[in-house]
Symmetry: C2
């Protein structure tokens, strides 16, 4: 098998490269941020573990929630008692994992009413003049500041963790669609025909004592469909429209009414609140703004409209709502436990099969939950964020 | 116009009956419970008002939420301060409006934890032995009882109010699809072809100073589509599967975990909780139970599964989940303000155009809100449920 300690793993990028493995100790499905981090931590904690990562697309995956995740780390998103764990995640994205486009960037949490720890928005904006053009302080007079907040790129985390895992000895099989079967996985290696159709080129069964399902919002469905297990997890389709108001490296991240405005590429990426799950069978569709079809779904439009007085640029052409769904980046987001405010989790859905879910709070707690599962699989007690 | 005080109104049931009216004072769209009640109260409060009710189907409408509404009146559903208003609704369904299949029937509200006013479920079931086979008191040890609760049939209310309104002088135009236009409505009179296609036979424009949009879950869409008005209302698709456990006239209504079990036709009709709106563009679809397709949507299945320990008959074949969506009665329910717990309301969405919404609490407060709008249109001060 040749994936022992000290040797780099192998990578199969396309079906021209022969794949003949029949057994691993652990197979991880999905090379998003959660799966690659779990792989890296597992190889570090248990260098002898024979580990395969199977990914439907490339590295990083370009379709899942990782690429569109805001990459906003803030203690405001850490549930009480998990601040130390969040700080450990901070250290990982700050440099432990490699280049993640990490940047210290304060977060202003704006409110219409009093909240604990809030100051006057006007006084706060004097310290953050880059944010002033976005906010009507009369509509949002109270502001909390998380001075420790940072931004980073979750896609870079997945890339760094994936490459790190391979360097640490994990094998990586790309362009492969995986199914759970008894005692392992069935791997369909995909290829693209001359007519741009994605087809299965060949199929392998691989035995594995442990399978980690890190398929994001598709994970619960895979566990149910392949195993007949019932899960209570949900998903929501979240779009991240762009707001073309200038931003730079010193512009803080803003949050108001659940909407996050994340400075990015000289403007802002809007991350709308997730209020609740979408029903099974829902196909995302665009909405209408004063009768004109737009690419942003109706529910998100309503949230943006409700904030137009407080954040005046939302009422201008600086907001890119597109003409159809394809114009606005969007992805399905896992909702652990079916809830929009639940932290990442892992759950053993069948003997040896672990579901690993990131969800809305993955930027702040995803890596530690991935570590926790890796440590559990490796049989390691103690977690690095626990008090000595 | 001939709809003055003391004369019955006219009814146009099909396109063979010539309709030549060009103007009314008030047009009410929709002959569900909310629209017919508003019509009846308006004719009583303002007998000279020239009033037309336009309904897409028959009387009562057989497709809307009225027919599938549980018909459970309980003070537990009256927001604080609106108990007197709810009692006025009680008096209406108890006999003021005619036969509504009214029946006093206690409501048992069951809980896993302590709630104010709760007693032991075991002691409570001693008083209601008909309910004992449905409940595991160990899982739901606390019970509140609303001794004043009643059941009735909202479809009978719509029929009684519609007929009462016509007797009081309102005109009624059936099988007519209505659109809002400036200063009135456009009425498409529908007919069915030999090939069972529903087509528009003829179109009329009718002027009206006031239009009441009582189209249930379709009302907000009509206001938006026809007027360009923005509303924050939502809707949810609620199915009401049947539970074949015997019930009789003395069986109480049960409620647990938001699920209402309403004794009906010798068994129970289940009314699942509405947690939140469905997204725009959602097409209801059935779910799967241990891999088998069923007619109940996934979200409702999850709610039922979560209650199977507490309500053991839900885990048996007594629960009719069907094979496809068509097997399980269901209807779109308006959610006033987009919220699942909001009482009925009316709202002037454009000058002279009033949206009237029932929603999840219409059984307890729908008639009074319909009265309130009628009184406002009639220019009448004071409401009968207010303290003298």
């Amino acid at each position: 098998m040749g994936t022992g300690a000290g040797r780099a793993g192998r990578v199969w990028a396309h079906v021209g490269q022969a794949f003949t493995e029949a057994e691993y100790d652990v197979v991880i499905l999905g090379a998003g941020r959660m799966g690659t981090a779990c792989a890296l931590f597992l190889r570090r904690l248990a260098p002898g573990v024979r580990l395969l990562i199977a990914e439907r697309g490339g590295l990083p995956n370009e379709e899942g929630a990782t690429i569109l995740a805001p990459g906003v780390w803030t203690l405001l998103d850490a549930p009480p008692g998990r601040e130390g764990e969040a700080r450990w995640v901070h250290a990982q994205v700050a440099g432990e994992l490699g280049d993640t486009q990490f940047r210290p960037r304060a977060l202003l949490d704006l409110h219409a009413g009093v909240v604990p720890g809030a100051r006057s928005t006007t006084a706060t904006l004097a310290r953050f003049p880059e944010a002033a053009p976005l906010i009507d302080p009369a509509a949002l007079p109270f502001a909390r500041v998380d001075e420790e907040a940072v931004t980073y790129r979750p896609g870079s985390v997945a890339l760094a963790c994936g490459q790190g895992a391979v360097r640490a000895g994990a094998d990586l099989l790309l362009n492969t669609h995986a199914h759970l079967v008894r005692g392992g996985v069935r791997l369909d290696r995909l290829t693209v025909t001359n007519t741009h159709e994605v087809v299965t080129h060949e199929t392998h069964e691989v035995r594995a004592g442990v399978v980690v399902v890190a398929l994001g919002a598709d994970g619960p469905h895979a566990a149910e469909h392949d195993l007949g297990a019932h899960t209570a997890h949900g998903r929501a389709y979240r779009q991240t429209p762009r707001l073309n108001v200038p931003s730079d490296d010193w512009t803080p991240t803003l949050r108001a009414g659940g909407l996050t405005l994340r400075p990015q590429n000289g403007g802002f990426t809007l991350i709308p609140p997730v209020h609740h799950r979408d029903p099974q069978g829902y196909l995302p569709t665009g909405g209408r703004l004063t009768g004109v079809p737009v690419g942003v779904r109706r529910e998100t439009l309503e949230d943006l409209i409700a904030l137009m007085d407080a954040l005046p640029p939302l009422a201008t052409e600086a907001l890119e709502v597109g003409r159809s769904l394809a114009d606005v980046p969007g992805a399905w987001l896992a909702l652990p436990g079916g809830r929009a405010d639940a932290p990442p989790l892992h759950e053993e859905v069948a003997p040896g099969v672990h579901l690993l879910l990131g969800g809305p709070l993955a930027d702040t707690l995803g890596l530690s939950v991935a570590y926790d599962l890796a440590a559990r699989v490796a049989g390691v007690e103690g977690r690095p964020w626990e008090e000595g």
